[in-house]
Protein backbone atom coordinates (compact mmCIF):
# COMPACT_ATOMS: atom_id res chain seq x y z
CA UNK A 1 0.00 0.00 0.00
CA UNK A 2 2.82 2.32 1.00
CA UNK A 3 4.62 1.46 -2.23
CA UNK A 4 1.48 2.24 -4.24
CA UNK A 5 1.22 5.57 -2.43
CA UNK A 6 4.82 6.42 -3.36
CA UNK A 7 4.19 5.53 -6.99
CA UNK A 8 1.05 7.67 -7.00
CA UNK A 9 2.86 10.65 -5.43
CA UNK A 10 5.66 10.34 -8.01
CA UNK A 11 3.11 10.12 -10.80
CA UNK A 12 1.24 13.14 -9.45
CA UNK A 13 4.48 15.19 -9.16
CA UNK A 14 5.49 14.23 -12.68
CA UNK A 15 2.05 15.02 -14.04
CA UNK A 16 2.10 18.45 -12.41
CA UNK A 17 5.56 19.11 -13.89
CA UNK A 18 4.47 18.12 -17.38
CA UNK A 19 1.17 20.02 -17.38
CA UNK A 20 2.63 23.15 -15.76
CA UNK A 21 3.24 24.81 -19.13
CA UNK A 22 0.96 24.69 -22.17
CA UNK A 23 2.51 22.91 -25.19
CA UNK A 24 4.59 25.09 -27.49
CA UNK A 25 2.78 26.18 -30.67
CA UNK A 26 4.49 28.06 -33.50
CA UNK A 27 1.68 28.13 -36.04
CA UNK A 28 2.31 26.15 -39.23
CA UNK A 29 5.86 25.39 -38.04
CA UNK A 30 4.61 23.42 -35.01
CA UNK A 31 5.25 19.92 -36.53
CA UNK A 32 8.76 20.98 -37.55
CA UNK A 33 9.40 22.40 -34.07
CA UNK A 34 8.16 19.18 -32.43
CA UNK A 35 10.36 17.05 -34.69
CA UNK A 36 13.45 19.17 -33.99
CA UNK A 37 12.95 19.41 -30.22
CA UNK A 38 12.14 15.69 -29.89
CA UNK A 39 15.78 14.94 -30.67
CA UNK A 40 17.09 17.59 -28.30
CA UNK A 41 15.22 16.58 -25.15
CA UNK A 42 17.26 13.45 -24.38
CA UNK A 43 20.95 12.95 -25.27
CA UNK A 44 21.16 15.83 -27.77
CA UNK A 45 24.89 15.34 -28.49
CA UNK A 46 24.59 13.50 -31.82
CA UNK A 47 22.43 16.36 -33.17
CA UNK A 48 24.85 18.97 -31.79
CA UNK A 49 27.77 17.15 -33.39
CA UNK A 50 26.12 16.85 -36.82
CA UNK A 51 25.07 20.52 -36.79
CA UNK A 52 28.54 21.61 -35.60
CA UNK A 53 30.31 19.62 -38.32
CA UNK A 54 28.00 21.14 -40.97
CA UNK A 55 28.66 24.65 -39.60
CA UNK A 56 32.43 24.12 -39.58
CA UNK A 57 32.45 22.64 -43.10
CA UNK A 58 30.43 25.67 -44.19
CA UNK A 59 32.90 28.00 -42.50
CA UNK A 60 35.81 26.22 -44.19
CA UNK A 61 34.13 26.44 -47.60
CA UNK A 62 33.48 30.15 -47.02
CA UNK A 63 36.70 31.27 -45.33
CA UNK A 64 39.11 28.54 -46.45
CA UNK A 65 42.35 28.66 -44.47
CA UNK A 66 41.00 31.77 -42.72
CA UNK A 67 39.43 29.49 -40.10
CA UNK A 68 42.90 29.12 -38.57
CA UNK A 69 42.89 32.87 -37.92
CA UNK A 70 39.47 32.60 -36.30
CA UNK A 71 40.70 29.77 -34.09
CA UNK A 72 43.82 31.71 -33.13
CA UNK A 73 41.60 34.60 -31.98
CA UNK A 74 39.26 32.27 -30.10
CA UNK A 75 42.16 30.50 -28.41
CA UNK A 76 43.30 33.81 -26.94
CA UNK A 77 39.75 34.59 -25.85
CA UNK A 78 39.71 33.16 -22.33
Amino acid sequence: MNSNGDVYRKFQKRWEEITDLPPQRVGPLTPLYKEATKRLKIMPWPVFLVVAVCVVVGLYMFFGNGITLLVSILQRGF
Partner: protein, 205 residues
Protein backbone atom coordinates in the same frame (compact mmCIF):
# COMPACT_ATOMS: atom_id res chain seq x y z
CA UNK B 1 29.11 18.21 6.85
CA UNK B 2 25.40 17.80 7.53
CA UNK B 3 22.94 15.52 5.83
CA UNK B 4 21.32 18.45 4.03
CA UNK B 5 24.72 19.57 2.63
CA UNK B 6 25.29 16.12 1.19
CA UNK B 7 21.78 16.20 -0.27
CA UNK B 8 22.46 19.57 -1.94
CA UNK B 9 25.79 18.33 -3.38
CA UNK B 10 24.11 15.18 -4.72
CA UNK B 11 21.25 17.21 -6.17
CA UNK B 12 23.67 19.65 -7.84
CA UNK B 13 25.70 16.77 -9.28
CA UNK B 14 22.48 15.12 -10.52
CA UNK B 15 21.40 18.38 -12.15
CA UNK B 16 24.79 18.91 -13.82
CA UNK B 17 24.66 15.31 -15.11
CA UNK B 18 21.04 15.89 -16.10
CA UNK B 19 21.72 18.94 -18.24
CA UNK B 20 24.19 16.76 -20.18
CA UNK B 21 21.92 13.78 -20.87
CA UNK B 22 18.36 15.06 -20.29
CA UNK B 23 18.48 18.86 -20.64
CA UNK B 24 14.73 19.34 -21.08
CA UNK B 25 13.57 17.44 -18.00
CA UNK B 26 16.44 18.68 -15.87
CA UNK B 27 16.00 22.37 -16.65
CA UNK B 28 12.29 22.02 -15.90
CA UNK B 29 13.10 20.38 -12.59
CA UNK B 30 15.68 23.09 -11.72
CA UNK B 31 13.26 25.88 -12.58
CA UNK B 32 10.45 24.34 -10.55
CA UNK B 33 12.14 22.83 -7.51
CA UNK B 34 15.88 23.56 -7.53
CA UNK B 35 17.50 24.78 -4.31
CA UNK B 36 19.33 28.08 -4.16
CA UNK B 37 22.13 26.28 -2.28
CA UNK B 38 23.01 24.65 -5.60
CA UNK B 39 24.53 27.98 -6.58
CA UNK B 40 27.37 27.16 -4.18
CA UNK B 41 28.21 24.03 -6.22
CA UNK B 42 28.21 26.07 -9.42
CA UNK B 43 30.47 28.59 -7.69
CA UNK B 44 32.90 25.77 -6.85
CA UNK B 45 32.92 24.63 -10.51
CA UNK B 46 33.58 28.22 -11.62
CA UNK B 47 36.38 28.55 -9.05
CA UNK B 48 38.17 25.62 -10.69
CA UNK B 49 38.23 27.59 -13.93
CA UNK B 50 39.38 30.77 -12.15
CA UNK B 51 42.28 28.81 -10.63
CA UNK B 52 43.38 27.31 -13.97
CA UNK B 53 42.97 30.59 -15.90
CA UNK B 54 44.86 32.50 -13.21
CA UNK B 55 47.85 30.18 -13.47
CA UNK B 56 47.76 30.22 -17.30
CA UNK B 57 47.55 34.02 -17.44
CA UNK B 58 50.33 34.47 -14.85
CA UNK B 59 53.11 31.94 -15.52
CA UNK B 60 55.34 33.59 -12.86
CA UNK B 61 54.39 32.25 -9.43
CA UNK B 62 53.71 35.45 -7.50
CA UNK B 63 51.01 34.94 -4.87
CA UNK B 64 49.90 38.58 -4.87
CA UNK B 65 49.42 38.68 -8.66
CA UNK B 66 47.72 35.27 -8.66
CA UNK B 67 45.31 36.28 -5.90
CA UNK B 68 44.54 39.58 -7.64
CA UNK B 69 43.91 37.83 -10.97
CA UNK B 70 41.72 35.18 -9.30
CA UNK B 71 39.64 37.81 -7.53
CA UNK B 72 39.38 39.96 -10.67
CA UNK B 73 38.08 36.98 -12.68
CA UNK B 74 35.63 36.03 -9.92
CA UNK B 75 34.25 39.57 -9.58
CA UNK B 76 33.90 40.07 -13.35
CA UNK B 77 32.18 36.69 -13.80
CA UNK B 78 29.74 37.38 -10.94
CA UNK B 79 28.96 40.87 -12.29
CA UNK B 80 28.66 39.49 -15.86
CA UNK B 81 26.30 36.72 -14.77
CA UNK B 82 24.13 39.13 -12.77
CA UNK B 83 24.10 41.56 -15.70
CA UNK B 84 23.31 38.94 -18.37
CA UNK B 85 20.63 37.23 -16.29
CA UNK B 86 19.20 40.64 -15.31
CA UNK B 87 19.03 41.72 -18.95
CA UNK B 88 17.30 38.50 -20.01
CA UNK B 89 14.93 38.66 -17.05
CA UNK B 90 13.99 42.28 -17.82
CA UNK B 91 13.64 41.49 -21.54
CA UNK B 92 11.58 38.40 -20.66
CA UNK B 93 9.31 40.48 -18.44
CA UNK B 94 8.89 43.08 -21.22
CA UNK B 95 7.65 40.41 -23.62
CA UNK B 96 5.19 39.01 -21.07
CA UNK B 97 7.21 36.60 -18.93
CA UNK B 98 5.92 35.39 -15.55
CA UNK B 99 8.31 34.38 -12.78
CA UNK B 100 10.67 35.63 -10.08
CA UNK B 101 14.24 36.73 -10.75
CA UNK B 102 15.52 34.29 -8.12
CA UNK B 103 14.18 31.18 -9.83
CA UNK B 104 15.30 32.47 -13.22
CA UNK B 105 18.79 33.19 -11.87
CA UNK B 106 19.05 29.66 -10.46
CA UNK B 107 18.23 28.01 -13.79
CA UNK B 108 20.32 30.58 -15.70
CA UNK B 109 23.35 29.77 -13.54
CA UNK B 110 23.30 26.21 -14.94
CA UNK B 111 23.79 27.67 -18.42
CA UNK B 112 27.26 28.70 -17.18
CA UNK B 113 28.34 25.04 -17.23
CA UNK B 114 28.89 24.96 -21.05
CA UNK B 115 30.57 28.37 -20.80
CA UNK B 116 32.96 27.24 -18.10
CA UNK B 117 33.66 24.00 -20.02
CA UNK B 118 34.70 26.05 -23.06
CA UNK B 119 36.81 28.51 -21.10
CA UNK B 120 38.46 25.72 -19.09
CA UNK B 121 39.23 23.67 -22.20
CA UNK B 122 40.53 26.74 -24.04
CA UNK B 123 42.79 27.64 -21.09
CA UNK B 124 44.27 24.14 -20.98
CA UNK B 125 44.59 24.01 -24.77
CA UNK B 126 46.43 27.33 -24.65
CA UNK B 127 49.24 25.49 -22.85
CA UNK B 128 49.10 22.25 -24.86
CA UNK B 129 48.64 23.77 -28.35
CA UNK B 130 49.38 27.48 -28.06
CA UNK B 131 48.10 29.75 -30.85
CA UNK B 132 48.53 30.82 -33.61
CA UNK B 133 47.25 27.93 -35.71
CA UNK B 134 49.01 27.58 -39.04
CA UNK B 135 47.50 27.03 -42.49
CA UNK B 136 49.27 23.65 -42.83
CA UNK B 137 47.03 20.54 -42.97
CA UNK B 138 47.69 19.76 -39.27
CA UNK B 139 46.75 23.33 -38.34
CA UNK B 140 43.56 23.22 -40.39
CA UNK B 141 42.52 19.89 -38.87
CA UNK B 142 43.25 21.18 -35.35
CA UNK B 143 41.28 24.33 -36.14
CA UNK B 144 38.36 22.27 -37.47
CA UNK B 145 38.28 20.10 -34.34
CA UNK B 146 38.43 23.15 -32.08
CA UNK B 147 35.63 24.86 -34.01
CA UNK B 148 33.44 21.72 -33.88
CA UNK B 149 34.05 21.48 -30.12
CA UNK B 150 33.26 25.19 -29.67
CA UNK B 151 30.10 24.97 -31.79
CA UNK B 152 28.83 21.92 -29.90
CA UNK B 153 29.22 23.77 -26.60
CA UNK B 154 27.60 26.87 -28.07
CA UNK B 155 24.57 24.81 -29.20
CA UNK B 156 24.35 23.23 -25.74
CA UNK B 157 24.49 26.71 -24.20
CA UNK B 158 21.75 28.00 -26.53
CA UNK B 159 19.46 25.06 -25.73
CA UNK B 160 19.96 25.49 -21.97
CA UNK B 161 19.39 29.26 -22.21
CA UNK B 162 16.21 28.65 -24.21
CA UNK B 163 14.97 26.14 -21.64
CA UNK B 164 15.85 28.48 -18.77
CA UNK B 165 13.70 31.25 -20.29
CA UNK B 166 10.96 28.78 -21.23
CA UNK B 167 10.55 27.19 -17.80
CA UNK B 168 11.51 30.05 -15.46
CA UNK B 169 9.61 32.82 -17.23
CA UNK B 170 7.00 30.61 -18.95
CA UNK B 171 7.73 32.11 -22.36
CA UNK B 172 6.88 30.77 -25.80
CA UNK B 173 9.47 30.47 -28.60
CA UNK B 174 8.53 33.76 -30.38
CA UNK B 175 8.66 35.65 -27.06
CA UNK B 176 12.02 34.05 -26.21
CA UNK B 177 13.37 35.24 -29.57
CA UNK B 178 11.97 38.71 -28.82
CA UNK B 179 13.64 38.72 -25.40
CA UNK B 180 16.95 37.62 -26.99
CA UNK B 181 16.77 40.50 -29.49
CA UNK B 182 16.01 43.00 -26.72
CA UNK B 183 18.85 41.73 -24.51
CA UNK B 184 21.44 41.43 -27.29
CA UNK B 185 22.18 45.19 -27.53
CA UNK B 186 23.16 45.74 -23.86
CA UNK B 187 24.98 42.39 -23.81
CA UNK B 188 27.02 43.36 -26.89
CA UNK B 189 28.00 46.68 -25.26
CA UNK B 190 28.88 44.93 -22.00
CA UNK B 191 30.96 42.34 -23.90
CA UNK B 192 32.82 45.15 -25.63
CA UNK B 193 33.50 46.78 -22.25
CA UNK B 194 34.98 43.57 -20.75
CA UNK B 195 37.14 43.32 -23.90
CA UNK B 196 38.24 46.95 -23.56
CA UNK B 197 39.27 46.56 -19.90
CA UNK B 198 41.22 43.43 -20.86
CA UNK B 199 39.51 40.86 -18.61
CA UNK B 200 37.82 38.69 -21.25
CA UNK B 201 38.29 38.85 -25.00
CA UNK B 202 35.27 36.55 -25.36
CA UNK B 203 32.51 37.58 -22.91
CA UNK B 204 31.77 35.06 -20.14
CA UNK B 205 27.99 34.77 -20.71
Amino acid sequence: MGKSSIHIIRQSAAHIYGIIVRPYMTMRSIAQSGSFWELVSIGVVLSMYFAVATVVKNPAFRPFLLTRQFLALAVVVVVTTLFASGMFWCAGKLVGGIGSYGRFFLSWSYTLIPTVCWFLATSILYILLPPPRTARPEGIVASGVFLVFSTVLLLWKLVLSYLSLRFSLRLSLPRILGAAVLASGPLFLYGYWTYAIGVFKIPFY
